[in-house]
Symmetry: C2
Subunit: 626 residues, 2 copies
């Protein structure tokens, strides 16, 4: 199956249309101001000789500019905005002007260390930045037909090809990204040499002695960055887990190290092997996916519990209060999940993708699109707040490009199949068995489970309409009005394979109901606790609603709950739950005989997790006692 380009599918439902509009109208303009005020754009002007000055900021700051451009490409594909378009134009010219004749582009090295390019691959992120440049180039071309950045990206990629690859220098980047970008570039340009370079980098990674291991003995490399501890075990041996450089990729058994890096690597690998019959590598990916989603993923789709390595720890280690669960890691999980879905056609990938999308990813951005979480804990004592920008600002443009590109995750096409992965409303143009077909989905997802498809082929045509059966639904039904037929089931999808005529409709009821969930008891941090969900949404209780700390709440999961549509928080359904709570007695001693605490009956309103921390400081809990 293939994703539909944004020129042929657009989101139409209230929920995601609002997000997409907010990103274009609020997030991207504010991010541009940050790119300017933090001198990320100035670095390009300095590198091109148009401005005097020193490089300012982290050595990988170029990437934020590229991710912003990519997000703008998606946004402008849907929302016309002349001012933003003109700003994009300027930024493109600013970027391209900094590119060296060789194709090399990295403002940190061009300004500060022109003689040390590619001397330290483990830490310095050069190819990471170049990868994001390529992604921007592809997106600007695919969405807006603008070739300028694509051509510059080709020059960057050809420059890499002149240095790295089979029979040339062995090398890959400490922060994976270039691999998936090169595959995208190959897909867009049809040039297999980019895919081959990506394959080379994937296959060389982790082979002992590894490239990074060797750099740790190189004083020139170390002079650029004494940072290396994350590559070593506490016993002083080389580990490489932090960068997924611990073993060749096809031997990886668990997701380890820095979560975003891992996700970007496996996204590239899935795209690389799709349709190529590399069973070993596909098995490795499935093994890793299973480990990730059945051992190391929060109920929100957040991944990477630990701040110390921005990544993974041990199976079932999922602390809630200290959960790192970086916004970028949830984005990365979605990127990888979509590639797995496209490769396998298995709806389970869509389930995980939906979980991350509606919870752990969009929790990373405020409802007004102007503030961001880097880490997304599942419990807070009221001290966690979104901020407008970060010194290391990877997350803001990442969530912007995810939301902008959302339509890519909603549906896919094949020659005689149309896949619906996600239940947002959309309008798509496709061609199935040679016949142009317009498909429209009306949806009030995630609030309402009624989903109505209108199929408009130019003339009657047979094709299979496949829609994912969400793992959270216990009672799903679908009907083609006027027809008697039953759906078939295939890999987590319901399939109506029939002749579709103009005016046909398909009406699905997804059966969205509040449900209490528990964790596998191996998750020690969730023992004795339950979480409320409704459809794809994970809910949480916030003290701003309850007037008490939700950690004090003990839910009665057998009591009725009350759902209510509320205009607050940009419109949402709240769920009110009955239970009890301890009465706080601050004057009591720290330790008292059992039976001292008194309980009172209370109601607690739960709201969708993604919407928390939008009303000032507030304690929050996803997992509550019962």
């Amino acid at each position: 199956m293939r994703p539909l380009p944004l020129s042929r599918i657009r989101i139409t439902d209230t929920f995601w249309s609002r997000w997409q509009r907010i990103v274009v109208e609020s997030s991207l303009p504010a991010q541009l101001e940050q790119l300017e005020s933090t001198r990320r754009l100035a670095n390009f002007r300095i590198a091109s000789g148009k401005e005097q000055g020193e490089h300012v900021g982290i050595y990988f700051n170029d990437s934020d500019v590229y991710k912003w451009l990519e997000a703008c490409a998606y946004g402008l594909a849907v929302h016309s905005n002349e001012k933003l378009k003109s700003q994009v134009d300027t930024v493109i010219e600013t970027v391209i002007a900094a590119q060296e004749p060789s194709g090399y582009l990295d403002t940190f090295f061009q300004i500060k260390h022109p003689d040390l390019k590619f001397k330290n691959l483990v830490a310095m992120h050069e190819m990471y930045c170049m990868g994001h440049m390529i992604e921007a180039g592809v997106a600007l071309f695919e969405c807006l037909g603008d070739r300028r950045m694509l051509d510059a990206s080709i020059r960057v990629a050809d420059h890499l090809l002149s240095i790295f690859g089979e029979g040339k220098r062995r090398g890959y980047c400490g922060h994976e990204e270039i691999e998936l970008a090169l595959v995208k570039l190959a897909n867009t340009t049809g040039q297999e040499r980019y895919r081959e370079l990506a394959r080379f980098m994937v296959e060389e990674r982790g082979k002992r002695p590894t490239v990074f291991e060797q750099e740790l003995d190189d004083p020139v490399a170390l002079s650029l960055s004494p940072w290396s501890k994350n590559m070593m075990t506490k016993h002083g041996e080389y580990s490489g887990e932090y960068c997924q450089d611990h073993a060749p990729v096809r031997e990886h058994t668990q997701v380890v190290g820095h979560a975003v890096r891992g996700m970007y690597l496996y996204t590239a690998v899935a795209d690389l092997i799709d349709g190529k019959g590399d069973v070993d590598m596909e098995t490795a990916l499935e093994r890793m996916w299973e480990n990730l989603t059945q051992r190391r993923m929060y109920i929100t789709g957040g991944i990477g519990p630990s701040a110390s390595n921005e990544g993974f720890t041990a199976d079932y280690d999922l602390p809630n209060l200290t959960a790192y669960a970086e916004t970028c890691a949830a984005c990365g999980l979605i990127f990888w999940g979509q590639k797995m879905l496209e490769m396998t056609g298995n709806g389970e990938y869509g389930d995980v993708l939906e979980r991350a999308l509606y919870n752990g990813a969009i929790s990373g951005i405020s409802l007004d699109g102007t503030r961001y979480f880097y880490d997304n804990p599942l419990e807070s004592r009221g001290t966690h707040a979104r901020v407008p920008w970060f010194h290391c600002a990877c997350c803001p443009p990442n969530i912007a490009r995810l939301i902008g590109n959302l339509a890519s995750f909603v549906a896919s096409e094949a020659d005689a199949d149309f896949y619906i992965h996600q239940y947002s409303g959309f309008e798509a143009q496709t061609t199935l068995n040679g016949v142009p077909v317009t498909i429209r989905a009306e949806s009030q997802f995630p609030w309402n489970g009624t989903y109505r498809l209108s199929i408009e082929p130019e003339r009657p045509v047979q094709f299979a309409l496949r829609f994912r059966l969400p793992d959270w639904s216990e009672d799903i039904s679908a009907e083609v009005p006027g027809a008697e037929e039953e759906a078939e089931y295939d890999s987590g999808y319901a399939v109506f394979d029939r002749v579709w005529k103009p005016g046909d409709t398909l009406v699905i009821d997804l059966g969205i109901e509040p449900r209490w969930i528990e964790s596998n008891v191996a998750v020690r941090d969730d023992l004795g606790r339950i979480a409320l969900t409704r459809g794809p949404l994970v809910y949480c209780a916030e003290s701003v609603d309850a007037a008490f700390d939700p950690q004090l709440f003990v839910a009665d999961p057998n009591a009725d709950v009350t759902e209510q549509w509320e205009p607050d928080l940009e419109g949402m359904i709240s769920v009110t739950v009955s239970g009890v709570k301890e009465i706080e007695q601050p004057d009591e001693p720290l330790y008292v005989p059992f039976g001292t605490a008194e309980m009172q009956e209370v109601q607690a309103k739960f709201i969708p997790y993604y919407a928390w921390a939008n009303r000032g400081a507030s304690a929050m809990a996803v997992w509550v006692r019962y």
Copy 2:
């Protein structure tokens, strides 16, 4: 009241006698091997010119040698051991030989930076090391009558007096210790100038601009240690909390920063003001003690929850799995508590001291005396194990000197009062109202609450026998056989003020029973959980007994428990509890509908917390669900 010197009181009960013997026979010899093999002793030989070489190890490693000497002084006061005595002799000579004619002694500076002495007080621990030297000098003199180290200590202290003090240089040490040592030296030598220097350092601390604040602007100071971040807030302002340098001591309102440092500071302050009528400072200490023990102390007496600053965070922030609760901090709490007890005569200090002593302090050492915890969590997933030594090895000799000096904490004397603070067995010689009295306590504490005192005055004499009423006891009784009198109550002590005759006895039943305890609900980490105690001991469940992870256990606090004497773990009473546990289902998905997990009835054996992790890797929990 005054502590009794070790020459007049010794421990006689099984529990503590065993610990004291183990320390002399196993811990101290093994620690000496570490002092030698890690070149801590070599640094002294190099500084004195007896050996060639470079300084090896951390700049404050001298202090470990001094603490070992102090522990040996206590140990040899009770247990004669010719080999250890001869080793102590050699170490004393090795140390003294390194002292400069000026009195200065710090091998790191003498060897590596002879021109930079006292240039960086915030980080370099010079006076911290000197303080431990003085404590060793005092202990060797008080316990063994050996003046050599005391004389060297006087030279060190006089050297400090030649530099620092009123009208001289303003200065104090980043790691408090010198203050309490100078007060000890004043008490032993009768020289008030040492107390005055301690007072100067206490009073100058935290006055803006502080000494440390000024050092952060000094390139010479910074050249010695770029370490300074702990002095700054995340907004880049000077904080000083880490070193209790944030405000003048008498304005401190909460315990903050590095826990051991705080405890050593307040120990010094209490000793300094005892009997001096400094009401403001006494109020400050009481305020801090209240904050510490009613907001920031684990049930084990462990303090300082956070590894990042080895210290305090916020009120009621007491996570169990990640509890730092450094062994040295529990020792420091005991040191401070004893000074508060001696100053106020209030038994509440003895309650806290007992809690720390029987739980969070001795958990720091293995039952065989050869391995140590640095941090003492209240929950473990089976990965926490004691080790023979640390790179930063403050804890091993600290717990050794605490155990060796235990008799100091058990009883105190005054002119006409004899105080019993702790219920270990002992034999003491004192003089009360001018009459020599021998007092013996027979005890099987903490296992058995029957405590029998024999009072043997040379002739009948009136004095008040005061014994602390433990906060954990709900049913305590005491009887002077043959007499009808009732005890009076005063500040947490029961008082029998009467004429005591040779052969009189007092029999106390402390009422030791298993009790379930809950935390103030403000401790979010303990919500829905209870802890088992028995007398002063906090209990825990270990997977090695239960064959299941105790985090899975849900106790029935209303069911009967079974106590059993067991020879394991050097002899202890176990308590077996009824309850249920979740059945582990590894093949089940990560997230499942509520009601999926199944429970089974189980019994769980609890053992004293101090004894955990003595039988290999084992998961452990103090706070269990109910």
